[in-house]
Amino acid sequence: MNFANAFTPERLQEAWECLLTEFPFAIWETLYSTLLATFFAIVIGLPLGVLLVTGESKGIRPLPRPVMSFLNVLINLLRSVPFIILMVMIIPLTRAVVGTSVGTLASVVPLTVAAFPFIARLVESSLREVNPNIIEAAQSMGASPWQIVTRVMLPESVPSLITNFTLAITTIMGYTAMSGAVGGGGLGKLALSYGYQRYRFAVLYLAVIVLVIITQVIQSFGTWLARKSDKRLKEK
């Protein structure tokens, strides 16, 4: 490896061309696998996170203790497997769902599996922030457990959920880069196979810079949206 040779004018020229030709599609792949995986992870993780809060023994609708233990163990197990290993481990599942284990679409399956337990924990922590007195007030109005979740707990925790989902999106985007090592597409693949394996370090750095910019944009937007949606901060 010779980094000095990586940034000669020719190499930079090459990277610039790559930015114009290869990058747009890679960025698109990164974004769509990230957003699709986030979407599915929320679809699975949100109800799970709700159950983690409502189902505990002092929750608004307690579930049997073994059920709660199972949920917690499942989530902890999935959370503790490193993503790159999880990806390989669930190849059979990926094949069963998408038909192949290679490609950007296929990478959405392991991304979802890795992200939903994370989302479940984030939703759990958001819902725990809801003032228990407000939940009691809803109970005193005759709200059913379902109504408490849909009309009180979720609406009250919207700013916190937005903050946490933003965190989830940026984390999942980090995973998509890793999925580049095992057949996934996007900026990660570009950086690894084009930049690293073909010694085009300028491309590698460029891919990282683009990833940083996207993360920044998503994070700033999420923070702004969370603030804007929080009616507690509204000036009088």
Partner: protein, 340 residues
Amino acid sequence: MIELRNLSKLFTTIDGPVDALKHINLKIEKGDIYGIIGMSGAGKSTLVRCINMLERPTEGTVLMDGVDLGSLNKKQIQEARRRITMIFQSFNLLMQRTCLENVMLPLKLAHVPTAQARQKAMELLETVGLPNKANSYPAQLSGGQQQRVAIARALATEPNVLLCDEATSALDPKTTHAILELIRDINRKMGITVIVITHQMSVVQEICNKVAILENGEVVEEGEVSEVFSNPRTNATRNLIYPEMTEGIEMFSRGGQHLRVIFNGAVTEPLIAKMAMECGIAASIIGASTRSVGDRAYGYMLLDIPGTPEDLARAITYISAVPDVKVQVEAEYNAEEADV
């Protein structure tokens, strides 16, 4: 209309079982503003939560219009809670919803169509004096205004009973007064029975017609406010009603002859001065807590009578001759007994 029969609540804690409520028997009539007063830890909050079944009593029954709430299933309890609504010390409004949406919430929970719920909520915001705050968020309102919104919310389902759990404890005296006025108004105009849980004797005095004193999970005294206040029978009650008096007694507890003079609607007149002139007994006032309602006095006074036991007997004879005044010899004050 609401009757508590032999109500008990036992909590199991790490330190063993705790008797939060012990065999409570209370009867709250329609139209009452019923005060339940006690020090913190007396069981007030548990008691009020048993009335709407937020806490299940361990023993005993809660009857509303003859129906045993304990026998209802979940769905029926949710229905019943629309008839027994509640306001709280910390208002407990949804912070991410506008005032209007907050008032609409109980109606939406009861599946009332949106247009109808909105109209009803607007009317109620008008009733509580905040029609122009409909689209404001609770964070933009003062504490008193938030409690008004909470009251509007509690009225949305047209309840028979309003439970107030320390509803004014977080408010300054002036706002407290205004909120109590509003509650009294609601009681009179809408015929809603009100149950007021508080540790502030001033709240009971201001709006309640009946009161129960709760101490260590037991009702130690109950009855008409004027009766209980003018003639407290237990130390717990005295401590709550006249905290300043117990200090006075303590100071004079060593020796001396003490009389407790109870005014129960007596015509206001200079009793002590007249006794000094007519009997020659120069009683000194150790402590007094009397309140005038119209030209009548309620409350009590603690006197130190100098001289012989005969003087004491004469003082008793003199004072008991006055209409609506009772007198009793004050026993040695026991500081430990009253230390709750």
